[in-house]
Each structure stands twice: as structure tokens, then as C-alpha cells.
């Protein structure tokens, strides 16, 4: 499973590279498109972190490892010499800043812009202490969220992985400002893993903290379609895949076993908000909701006491390995949502793939 998830994150990176190399990439979803509302990956991650704060650290570590591994591949594919940043710690500041910024902008800012993840830029290079500061405007991870501390763990891990690979140094990154805290943009400080100051700040950053997702308010904002950032509310579905995979690669046992229950809780909480918003019959509410978020095309059929749901163009399974373990959050979410909307206690029974569609059966809970 780990290897499969690693392959998945590698596919996301390679596909993003392919797009900036202007390769003809296949369309992931013909009807819903290749983007998804940022609310979907954001809320899924926040719900997971809220329920199990350890997941923040897992996401950080696995996204760091994934980025590191893939940046080596990217450098090779772009013909970038392995010794490009040779003895970077001895470079004069201006040269270090200009050269690194040019490469970051050309490759990684381009990738993140295409993915609509945010706007990455190098702000400062402190050669003496080997610390780099990057800004990330319009960050997909925290847009529309209010929090007391930085919560963009995926991007902190990704940026530390990128810099570690580029500079051939073991580096860590933490947020010094976060849009969720009311700052203008997210800013990350990246420094050597053995730097005592970085070690102290890292443990503070990844320390278990209770996050209040402000769920109802955030969902309402999403449904009203208010623009949350300069680059809009959509993000490439590849980012969502990467987020799911990275939350499961390390410590997948804890993450996936709890993700179904967290999904149920999420679906249950979501139901009254979306029912009130759409003010329509139950089946149409679900359809409209998932379609508005560019998440899934849902067809629901009531078969006796059972409910069969056909998920087409499902963001989770588009180009993804057809691994049901990855879908446990979604199964839980649908169970919670349907139970609440139909006002019947339903339980997830079976799921099967029919070509590219995913068929789920819910039965009355005994």
C-alpha cells in the first residue's frame, strides 16, 4: 500500500511537470473538469487533523519525503545538473538569492500555479545560517479558514522537500505567518534540520494543537461561492490526490482506520447546512452539492430499503489507484450525509467499481 501511495504522489508530481513541459496530458474528468473546489481537500484534512492532531505531523513528513524524491526526478528530467547548487552555503547572498529564485519561479512556482495551489516566491536567503524564507500567497490549504496557528503542513513539508533536494541538504520548514491567522500570506522559514533554532520551532509548529475548523461558517462560504483568493476557489484534482495519499503514507493504520468515522461525522454535520442552503429534495441536494464542488457526479437509486449510489467522475478515483482503503473517508461521508438527509440510520455495505464509476450500497443500520 505504501508503494502504491508513493506511486500516486509521484504521478501527481510527474503530471504537473508534464503540464509545465506542455506535454499533451490526458483530461482527468470529461464533465467535471480537472479542478475541484478547494473546500474538499481542505475540509477533509482539517477534519482529520481536528480528530487526530498527530496527522499534521504525518502529512508534513510524507509530503516532505514525496517532494524530495520527486524533485530529484524533476531536476533530472529538466537536464538540471546535480551539482547546480554546489556549495550553496558558500555562495554570495545576491547570487544565491537570484539563482535560487529563478529556478523556483521557473519550475516550482509554475507547477503550483498550474495546480492552483498558490503563488510561491522566494523572499530571502540567509546564507550564514542557511535559512530560506518563501512566501505562498493564495494558499489553497488555508484559504477561508481561521486558526490560531499556522496549519499548512502539506506545503511546509513540500517546500522543505523541494529545498532539501535542490540544495542537497537535510532541511525542515515551518510557517512564520499564515493566512489563516489573519496574515496577508503564508510565509515559511526553511532551515537545516540540525539547526537548533529550527529544531525548536519545528517541534512547536508540529506540536499537537486543537484546531477549530469553524465548520458551518466555512461550508456556507463555500456554498455561496464567494471567492476566497486571487486564483479562485478551484484547485487541481492532483493536489487533492496528493493530500489524501500523504495523509495515509506514514501512519496509514491510524489514519485510515479513523477516516471512515471522521467521514461519518463530517457527512452528518454537513447535511443540515446543505439542506438549508439548497432547499430542495434530498436526492437533488446531494447531486447539487457534489456537482457545485466539482467533486462527484452522483446518481442515487432507492432499491427497497437500500440506497444505491453511483459516483461518476469521482475526484478521489480519477486517475487514482482503485484502492478502497483510500475511499474510507468518502464512504463515511456519504453514509453520514444520506442518513441525515433521509432521516434514516443507514450503514455503508458494499462498494464496487463499474468501469470508471463507483457503486456504493447503503442499507438500514440494524
Amino acid at each position: 500500500m505504501d508503494t502504491e501511495l508513493e506511486k500516486l504522489t509521484d504521478e501527481v508530481w510527474q503530471s504537473a511537470l508534464g503540464r509545465i513541459m506542455k506535454k499533451d496530458m490526458p483530461v482527468v474528468r470529461t464533465s467535471l473538469g480537472d479542478d475541484i473546489d478547494l473546500y474538499v481537500p481542505q475540509m477533509r484534512t482539517l477534519m482529520m487533523v481536528e480528530a487526530n492532531p498527530d496527522i499534521a505531523s504525518l502529512i508534513y513528513s510524507s509530503s516532505r519525503v514525496s517532494a524530495n524524491r520527486n524533485v530529484f526526478v524533476i531536476m533530472k528530467r529538466l537536464g538540471m545538473p546535480a551539482d547546480y547548487f554546489w556549495k550553496f552555503e558558500y555562495w554570495v547572498k545576491d547570487r544565491a538569492f537570484e539563482t535560487l529564485r529563478k529556478v523556483i519561479n521557473k519550475v516550482f512556482t509554475a507547477i503550483m500555479n498550474l495546480n492552483k495551489e498558490g503563488n510561491l516566491d522566494l523572499l530571502d536567503v540567509d546564507i550564514e545560517h542557511m535559512r530560506l524564507t518563501v512566501s505562498f500567497k493564495d494558499c489553497v490549504e488555508c484559504a477561508g479558514v481561521t486558526a490560531e496557528k499556522g496549519l499548512c503542513y502539506y506545503h511546509a513539508g513540500t517546500f522543505s522537500g523541494i529545498m532539501s533536494a535542490l540544495l542537497n541538504k537535510d532541511m525542515d520548514a515551518f510557517e512564520i505567518t499564515c493566512h489563516a491567522k489573519g496574515d496577508e500570506a503564508c510565509t515559511f522559514l526553511i532551515g537545516k534540520k540540525d539547526d537548533p533554532e529550527i529544531i525548536a520551532k519545528m517541534s512547536e509548529y508540529l506540536a499537537i494543537a486543537k484546531i477549530d475548523t469553524g465548520f458551518d461558517e466555512r461550508l456556507n462560504t463555500c456554498l455561496q461561492g464567494n471567492s476566497l483568493r486571487g486564483m479562485g476557489n478551484l484547485v487541481n484534482v492532483g493536489y487533492y490526490h496528493s493530500m489524501i495519499a500523504n495523509s495515509l503514507i506514514i501512519g496509514k493504520a491510524e489514519a485510515s482506520s479513523s477516516s471512515f468515522d471522521i467521514g461519518v461525522d463530517y457527512g452528518t454535520k454537513m447535511a443540515p447546512v446543505i439542506a438549508a442552503f439548497y432547499n430542495d429534495n434530498q436526492i437533488d441536494v446531494i447531486k447539487k452539492y457534489y456537482r457545485q464542488l466539482h467533486h462527484i457526479d452522483v446518481k442515487m437509486i432507492e432499491v427497497g430499503e437500500n440506497v444505491d449510489i453511483v459516483l461518476s467522475e469521482c475526484a478521489e478515483t480519477a486517475t487514482m489507484f482503485k484502492n478502497k482503503e483510500l475511499l474510507s473517508f468518502l464512504f463515511g461521508e456519504i453514509q453520514g450525509l444520506i442518513s441525515q438527509l433521509l432521516n434514516r440510520k443507514m450503514a455503508f455495505q458494499t462498494s464496487e467499481f463499474e468501469n470508471s464509476d463507483l457503486k456504493i450500497r447503503l442499507s438500514p443500520r440494524v
Binding site: 506542455k22 545538473p81 546535480a82 551539482d83 556549495k87 558558500y90 554570495v92 547570487r95
Partner: protein, 276 residues
């Protein structure tokens, strides 16, 4: 163009420039060598200085001392200057000057190497390195013995003979001091996947230039005196070897300056070429 291809073409160019010194007619070869050697060295001096400005701390010092070494070495390669000094100051004073210049040159190159060692992480020579040094010591002693002046030569002109012997002793000493640097750098290359190709060229060219006389001496069986009078800047194979070594240093330094630009161009090219 791919940076490796540029470096390979530059190395081939350096080889062609050096081969010219002994394939053109003897007199022209002599003039060519006496112009090319100092010319490439002064180019190396300028490039090393430019490289030094790109770095800070130990690496800047390493390249600054390398540039000073190349400058002093360039002076030692201006044959007409030394011929003039011999004729105007006499043998003994000129030999003293040569020795001062030699010591200054070697002090620069050793200081440069010392700073290089501070930059590389590998600090201990491995078993194979010690075996290599163990073989090199008797070889240096052998070269020294071969160049010992005869008793009759010493009694005829003791100062000159002793000074010449000191030049050889210094040369052997510098080789013995430089070899550990090279060995440590080679170990460093093997330990790290991301070593600089341009820095390796510079180090290679430097060592090659310094030891080539002695390799030539051992290969040809000629004495250093004979080599100095009959082969140095006379359009010989030795001249070609020198020019090649200096050109390699210059290529390495130039590559180091242009490396970021070439790498970035490679990225731009890869991103703009539509692959399907």
C-alpha cells in the same frame, strides 16, 4: 547546448591548442609555447579571481589564492624575462629569485588547497590513499636522487647546484603535500553524489600541471636540467602537456562561472520544448 557537451568541446579545444605546440614547425612551436603558456595562465588568474567573487568564506579564499598562484606561475613562465634576468643579474641572483618565486607559488597553491580542505567534509584519507602515498614517497626520493648534483659540479659552482637541488626538493615536497588534498577530494567525490564537475576539472588541471614535469622526467629518463634547457618552451610534447593542463584549469574556471547560466538555459529549453 548541453553544459557537458560545452565542457567536452572545450576540453577537445584545449587538447588541440596544446597539440599545436609540437605539430607546427619547431621555431614556431617554441614561440607559440612561450606565448600560450603565460597567456593561458593570466586568463586562468582572471577567471579564478572572478570565481572567487562568486563565493564567500573559505571557498572565496581558496579561489583567491589559486588566482595568486596562477599569476605568480605566469611570471615564472615568461621565459624572455628570466633570460633577461640571467644575463643582467647573473646565475646565483636569478636562481635566488626563482626560488623565492617558487616558494611564493607553492605557498599560494598550498593555502588554496588548505581552504579547499576546509570546504570538503572528508577529512581522513582511506587505506588506498595511504598505500598510494606510501608508493609516492620512494618515487619522490628516487626523483630527488636522480637530480643530485655530482661532487665535481658542486665543487665547480656550489651555490648554483645547491639552489637547483633545493628547487627539486621543493617540487617533491609540494607533490607530497598536494597528493593528500587530491586523495581527500577524490574520496569526497565518491562519497557525495553531487560534486562539482567544474571544480574537479580545476583541481585535475592544477595537479596535472604541477606533476607533469616529473612524469615527463620519469617517462623520458632525462634530467630536470636537460628538460629545462631542451624541452621547456621549445615546441615539445612537454609544452603541449603544460598548455593542456593550464587550459583545463581555465576551462574549469570558466565552466564554474557559466554553470548556473547553462543549467538555467537547460531548464528553459526543457520547459519550452513540447514533448508528446
Amino acid at each position: 547546448m548541453d553544459r557537458r557537451r560545452i565542457l567536452i568541446i572545450a576540453i577537445i579545444g584545449a587538447a588541440l591548442l596544446s597539440v599545436l605546440s609540437f605539430i607546427i614547425p619547431k621555431n614556431a612551436g617554441s614561440v607559440y609555447s612561450s606565448v600560450m603558456q603565460p597567456l593561458v595562465l593570466i586568463l586562468g588568474f582572471a577567471l579564478a579571481f572572478k570565481v572567487a567573487l562568486n563565493y564567500g568564506r573559505e571557498l572565496r579564499k581558496s579561489f583567491l589564492f589559486l588566482s595568486l598562484f596562477l599569476f605568480l606561475y605566469m611570471i615564472s613562465n615568461i621565459l624572455p624575462l628570466w633570460q633577461f634576468l640571467y644575463s643582467s643579474l647573473g646565475n646565483t641572483t636569478t636562481l635566488y629569485l626563482i626560488q623565492i618565486l617558487q616558494i611564493a607559488c607553492y605557498a599560494m597553491v598550498l593555502t588554496s588547497c588548505a581552504y579547499t580542505l576546509k570546504v570538503i567534509e572528508v577529512k581522513r584519507i582511506n587505506r588506498y590513499g595511504w598505500i598510494f602515498i606510501g608508493l609516492l614517497v620512494p618515487l619522490c626520493i628516487y626523483i630527488l636522487i636522480r637530480n643530485l648534483p655530482t661532487m665535481s659540479a658542486i665543487s665547480a659552482d656550489p651555490t648554483t647546484q645547491i639552489l637547483r637541488l633545493l628547487i627539486t626538493i621543493f617540487d617533491m615536497a609540494i607533490i607530497l603535500m598536494l597528493v593528500p588534498v587530491v586523495l581527500l577530494y577524490v574520496q569526497h567525490l565518491r562519497a557525495k553524489a553531487k560534486e562539482s564537475i567544474t571544480f574537479t576539472l580545476i583541481m585535475g588541471g592544477l595537479i596535472f600541471s604541477i606533476i607533469s614535469t616529473y612524469i615527463f622526467e620519469l617517462a623520458s629518463g632525462l634530467s630536470l636540467d636537460k628538460i629545462a634547457t631542451d624541452y621547456f618552451q621549445k615546441g615539445s610534447v612537454l609544452d603541449a602537456i603544460y598548455i593542456f593542463g593550464y587550459c583545463i584549469i581555465a576551462v574549469g574556471l570558466y565552466g564554474n562561472i557559466k554553470y548556473s547560466e547553462w543549467g538555467y538555459q537547460a531548464i528553459v529549453k526543457a520547459l519550452s520544448s513540447k514533448e508528446t
